[in-house]
Subunit: 317 residues, 2 copies
Amino acid sequence: MQTRHLTFRLLQVFVQVVRCGNISLAARQLHLTQPTVSQQLKRLADTLGEPLLSHDNGKLTLTPVGEALYELCQDTLGQFDSFGQFLEDYRSGLRGQFSLALVNTAQYILPRIIGPFQAKYPNIEVRLQIGNRQQVLDYFEHQADDLYVFSHPPSSASSRAARIINNPLVIIAPKQHPLSLAKELSFEQLSAERFLLREPGSATRMLFDSWLLNQDFLLSSSLQMASNEAICVGVASGLGLAVVSRHVLAGFLNEVTILPVSGFELHSHWHYVRRTGHQLPMAAQRFVNFTQDNLQHCLDPRWLAKDLPMLTQKLLG
Amino acid sequence: MQTRHLTFRLLQVFVQVVRCGNISLAARQLHLTQPTVSQQLKRLADTLGEPLLSHDNGKLTLTPVGEALYELCQDTLGQFDSFGQFLEDYRSGLRGQFSLALVNTAQYILPRIIGPFQAKYPNIEVRLQIGNRQQVLDYFEHQADDLYVFSHPPSSASSRAARIINNPLVIIAPKQHPLSLAKELSFEQLSAERFLLREPGSATRMLFDSWLLNQDFLLSSSLQMASNEAICVGVASGLGLAVVSRHVLAGFLNEVTILPVSGFELHSHWHYVRRTGHQLPMAAQRFVNFTQDNLQHCLDPRWLAKDLPMLTQKLLG
DNA sequence: GAAATCCATTGATTATTGTCTATATATACT
DNA sequence: AGTATATATAGACAATAATCAATGGATTTC
């Protein structure tokens, strides 16, 4: 058998003929002429080297080989049909996968939209990458992922970004800290305190550093910790103060207090970022759309970034 | 997806490329040039409407769609390879089926060769038709079967026949019958007896009738029964005498006796018969070969027909 | 930075497939 | 015999598939 000369068309015609039990009828249903179908059958039988049909007392019947081939064809064509369906879904974004790279802090809030998304699109696989700003930047450079979430988008001409969620930074102190009772504070009042800081390269750290520089402040004492959780626990345990994203606090609000420091206004935003060179999978586009339409129901409205209603337009349009 | 434009060749090339992870190498292994393979891939991707491969940092990698297609191709091509193997076997006669039509009497002896044949060729399905001579003649006329076993082959120009087994007819009487003690008898001595006869159209009946006619004998009394077993039981029960194939007697030899009637010599033979117009399946040819080579080990040598050693030659050659 | 690989593209050629019309041949049904 | 109906065959043509050689761009390797 010369498998390489087999055509799906041939199999389709064969199956149709078997189903009709009648070459002429099959031809009509396939919008072909009868001789065409006859010849296709002949060619098929020739490439297999065995007859597939025989006419016994006027009726077309399958030879044993034909029988076996018919079974096989049904199976194969069925599988390819399913594959076609899979492709449809894939193309329309109902099925598929995409990867999303998050900077550390975003992991506290993005699941709130990913969860409902997964519920609506169970056939889409979201692969989540999480790292600090530098790592996600690396992913971004290598185009390793489809969509990125940054607090501070890289300034690349070949990328587009749109704000989605407000990310205010706050200064926290342990509940029992003397300053936690103050109605208003200036930053000078804190300058003697020890600060727990994220590693350089993290967006939180960068923002805070540049703010300090800008205000001409210098920290008298600091301690570096590589995780937001560690910092919160540290603050709660009285190790010092810290600047963290407001969103990180959820689980710690009964142990730490937000200090009302006047003049400390570090408002950043999380952005969806994509590379323009990289074709976004439909599944990812669905995710962007879904975010625009549903984020308001997943989040306290005060966190919604202003340009959320124009998200798809800014990012994809 | 335009399934109808898919080619097995395309799938083969794709699979090879995925296995090699390298287009040029795949091309060499397929004895093609690299551009050819590149183009095949392009065409495949075009008919599916989705890219299948991408080069990430120098390496070819499958897209999710490519991954799915690869799985599918492996499966499909594997199945067709198996089918090819099936075809091979079928063609060579190691696998397949054929039908064998037997006249009634032959069913007592043909299983002795069919059994060992099945043991050696478990993948060959033998379909057995059994009928009286007239019925098997009908099958023969309609070419319903591949091989026939007759006592008296139809005299058709479009058939070939070869003797395989001796089929002597004998006259039997109940053990307690007065004649059963005689050393030698003439047929006249039996003419007053009642004879149990098969139906007209059966070979045994035909032979006996024509012998009677030839010898100018007339039976005084007869009783017709449509089965050999019924006749044997009848004789054993004292209903009368009968003429039956020697081979039918196996289970009755302690109840009936063969009468030594001088001048009664009805030697017929079973034949394998095939129609020359009908292409014999390889499986059936295997059976003929097997018969020639093994019948001697399955049967008492006295029943072997003289021209058994030339069986295949006479029937197929 | 030169050489070596690897891949994509282009343009051209040939072989194979898909398809038709017209005709012949069976077979079954009056 | 005569008329449908179903298949097969032959001859012709267009479309598609399969292939190559030549070339250029990218990436890796030395």
